[in-house]
Assembly symmetry: C2
Homo-oligomer: 123 residues x 2
């Protein structure tokens, strides 16, 4: 009973460790975060992106490759250029993941509270 296009549709699939590694690794660089922000706000070609940063075109190209591997951006061929578009889905996944972390912490606090109310220390 696996949905027919479970792999392609990506309807909120759980991310595996390697995928999460790539996402956070990709976000751990200020230039790449900037590229994600720009391309979430508006599409841009690699050349247009490269104009903004004090590094070679090839370096920016590599950053885009890292972001694409993490599915944080899409690279869409248009004539001789490649349009880069930020992918809000992957951002949401990462956010959700951090939400789970928060939940774990919340669970601990609840347990501590319950303990304090129900069972005063025996000392």
């Amino acid at each position: 009973m696996i949905p027919p296009n479970a792999r392609t549709a990506q309807l909120s699939r759980e991310l595996n460790d390697a995928e999460v590694d790539r996402i956070f690794r990709a976000l751990a660089d200020a230039t790449r975060r900037d590229i994600v922000r720009r391309t979430l706000g508006a599409e841009a070609s690699i050349s247009q992106l490269a104009e903004r940063y004090e590094m070679s075109f090839a370096a920016v190209q590599k950053h885009v490759t890292v972001l694409e591997a993490a599915d944080l951006v899409e690279r869409i061929p248009r004539g001789r250029e490649r349009i880069i578009r930020g992918n809000p889905d992957t951002i949401r996944r990462a956010q959700q993941l951090l939400g789970h972390f928060e939940q774990i912490w919340r669970g601990r606090i609840e347990r501590l509270d319950a303990l304090l109310c129900a069972d005063p220390p025996t000392s």
Copy 2:
């Protein structure tokens, strides 16, 4: 008019690029994410953490150091051991940051919608 303990209180200060780099870099490793989860759920000494992973004590110790530098965990001396406690604040900061990314995307969609409603294509 800077609040007296602006640096120590950390009342939702904005994170700078280097800090964000460290946070995401620290989260880009499955072992470290696991350590954060465990120590958000319950405190643990470094030895206790090290028992869980198939690597040397020193390796786990290094992972903890990386997490501490990112302020994702605290290291609290207790007798001969160091108690590690996950820091939910930093997780929240990271989550918020990703929230800003989502907002940027939302803004773009709003602009596109406004354009479509107000101004049918001239072609």
